[in-house]
């Protein structure tokens, strides 16, 4: 089977402006995928295309082997929590759950009720009077009780305080462990992603800069510092993602699958945060033509 999301040359145009252009990616199943990128990189557009809220202007996207938004069966396969977690202000939590039951064939009412109970929410409370964190939890409950194969979350953490954020992510991890659902989660908070994601996709000005398993990526990137040297003199099998040079010293972030043999380099591991920022700020990507597509490295 192919990945949960397969996009090829995917683009979305509004008037003359492209919100997303030439996006090609493959996201494997059973992962918690972090979709990272600066504002305006096209994260929301990509996610909306994946759940069928938008239709592509160019290229193609398939989600769980189907065309997003194409009929009730396809819609039932994906659960979506939109940005700012919209809910019906005038409807109570109970009525939201009833909506879920009315509109989704695979609705798991017990699961929804259990989650609301365990969150300590009063089902009679109107959604309009919930806090941001509670609303996000309600939206997540609606998405998960639908029993989707893929859960798509668009910036679910943006409006939450640090404590609510942590609770939300813990809940999410529990759900993933219990139901084996694939998750795609967008955020610009890389620290949060590090906690939950085992796969990361970096989007920068509508291009996929980096895509791969988090452990593989961390294992194959190194932070090197040492005496200043000419960039041309570096080993040919290194891909320099980021480099800074002072008069005396060179600091590099390199991608390599070999060991560092030169003892004059001081070698440090990288964090996911470093890595994402490096790829975003350099605006460069690891290209298949360099012989190493990270997605297949595992």
């Amino acid at each position: 089977m192919s990945g949960v999301i397969e996009a090829s040359g995917l683009g979305k145009q509004y008037g003359r402006k492209w919100a997303l252009r030439g996006c090609t990616l493959s996201i494997p199943a059973g992962r918690v995928v972090g979709l990272v990128g600066p504002n305006g990189a096209g994260k929301t557009t990509l996610l909306h295309l994946a759940v069928g809220l938008l239709a592509p202007s160019a290229g193609s996207i398939s989600v769980l082997d189907g065309k997003p938004g194409d009929g009730p069966d396809q819609l039932a396969k994906t659960g979506f929590v939109a940005q700012d977690t919209p809910t019906y202000v005038g409807l109570s939590i109970k009525k939201h759950l009833r909506m879920g039951a009315y509109l989704n064939p695979n609705w798991d009412g017990d699961l929804a009720k259990r989650r609301i109970d365990s969150l300590g929410l009063d089902p009679r409370q109107k959604a309009g009077s919930l806090s941001g964190g509670q609303r996000a939890q309600l939206a997540l409950t609606l998405a998960i009780a639908k029993r989707p194969e893929l859960l798509v979350l668009d910036e679910p953490l943006a409006s939450l305080d640090p404590l609510a954020r942590r609770e939300f992510l813990q809940d999410l991890m529990t759900i993933v462990a219990e139901h084996g659902v694939s998750v795609v989660l967008s955020s610009h908070l890389t620290a949060d992603l590090e906690r939950v994601c085992d796969y990361v996709v970096v989007l920068f000005s509508s291009q996929v800069q980096l895509s791969g398993d988090v452990n593989d990526l961390l294992g194959s990137h190194l932070r090197l510092s040492g005496v200043r040297r000419d960039p041309g003199s570096l080993p040919a099998d290194w891909v320099v993602v980021e480099e800074t040079h002072t008069d005396k010293q060179s600091t590099l972030l390199v991608y390599t699958d070999g060991a560092i043999l030169d003892p004059s380099w001081s070698v440090k591991p990288v964090t996911l945060d470093d890595l994402i920022l490096a790829y975003m700020s350099q605006g460069r990507s690891l290209r298949p033509n360099q012989g190493r597509e990270l997605g297949v490295l595992r």
Binding site: L53, A55, D84, P86, Y88, L91, K95, N104, P105
Partner: protein, 360 residues
């Protein structure tokens, strides 16, 4: 989706039901009294044989309600458009909940079809019900006035208001999708609805069927008269003035045809013409009736003199009455309802097309 739509629109339907209930109670309490007074008078005037001359006292009962009822019937479709139609989709777009709704396991097409269909039917039912209640209540009055086809009354009777309600609702939904703001959509709906009603009343309804033309003697009805133009404007001498009467120039005179009543019909115009269909000019009238020259004097001719003049003219001129007979009331009602429902369906199509184009 049907059950969800019921759930979502329950509050507004409840408010509408309470409103209808209040109107129903008021009408149910006063209606039988009205009918009773009407019947009692009909019986007694038949016994006395003066039904034609004595006015039925029912016209003086519940005066405020009599004048409020057409207003209520007129306003209900507009309210339905404002409070059922405009927020229907605009609120979802405004608050972002459309992203929640459209990612449930229901296609957007079905979502829209059920929402428009169910709430639209409720809107039409409300428009129909309030009109039906008003018709029932006012039936003794209509029996006396015999004017339900008339310009002012047609829109508040029968089934046309069902079409108005459907149209106002669809207009609200469409405006909501185009403007994406509930309040703006409500304003646009109110303005658009009034414009559509005025346009159909003035520029469509009169042309739905060509009127029946009937020739009558000049002396029929309440009698012909004259309209004289002077420096101050016009002076009428027993003239029946309506929009079809030409305005005479200064020092000119116009022969006006009599007012003719067509029970439950709709009179377009009455004109005084000769056999060739031409109205008399001043050049003809002054020599034919020298007494008309005195119209400009401070002491105008007496009405007996003018009457003699009309009698003389009636050998050459006759009245042409153009009207829609009462039997066309229901065909006109169906046509008017059909026009508005067709427009409503077109708006629903536009809404769907726009939602697909703009939001995907």
């Amino acid at each position: 989706m049907i059950r969800f739509t019921f759930m979502q629109s329950r509050a507004s339907v409840l408010v509408a039901a309470i409103g209808l209930g209040v109107v129903a109670i008021v009408l149910a309490i006063t209606g039988p009294h009205l009918a009773h007074v009407y019947d009692a008078f009909e019986r007694s005037c038949k016994a006395a044989g003066d039904c034609a001359t004595a006015p039925n006292p029912v016209l003086n009962l519940y005066k405020p309600l009599q004048s409020a009822l057409p207003f209520i019937v007129a306003i209900v479709p507009a309210l339905v458009g404002l409070f059922f139609g405009a927020p229907l989709i605009a609120r979802e777009l405004e608050t972002g909940t459309f992203r929640l709704a459209w990612t449930q396991s229901v296609t957007r097409k079905r979502w829209l079809a059920v929402k428009l269909g169910l709430v639209g039917i409720a809107a039409m039912a409300i428009g129909g019900l309030v009109t039906w209640m008003a018709d029932w209540w006012a039936s003794p009055l209509d029996a006396v006035n015999q004017d339900r086809f008339g310009f002012a009354n047609f829109s508040f009777h029968g089934i046309a208001p069902i079409g108005y309600a459907a149209f106002a609702f669809a207009l609200g939904a469409t405006a909501g999708v185009l403007l994406r703001r509930t309040v703006a959509a409500m304003a646009a709906t109110g303005a658009g609805f009034v414009a559509a009603r005025v346009a159909v009343t003035y520029w469509v309804r009169p042309y739905l069927a060509s009127p029946v033309r009937e020739s009558l003697p000049l002396s029929a009805g309440s009698g012909a008269g004259f309209l004289y133009g002077d420096a101050q404007g016009t002076t009428d001498f027993n003239a029946y003035i309506h929009s079809g009467v030409p305005t005479p120039g200064v020092g000119q005179v116009v022969l006006t045809a009599p007012q003719v009543n067509v029970p439950n019909g709709w009179v377009y115009s009455t004109t005084a013409v000769d056999k060739a269909g031409h109205a008399p000019t001043s050049h003809y009238l002054f020599p034919a009736c020298p007494v008309l020259k005195q119209l400009s004097r401070p002491q105008p001719p007496s009405s007996a003199q003018l009457q003699a003049c009309v009698t003389r003219l009636s050998s050459t001129f006759h009245t042409v009455l153009a009207y829609q007979p009462g039997s066309r009331f229901w065909p006109f009602q169906w046509a008017e309802m059909g026009i508005f429902i067709a427009a409503a369906l077109a708006l629903c199509g536009l809404t769907y097309w726009w939602l697909r184009r703009r939001y995907s």
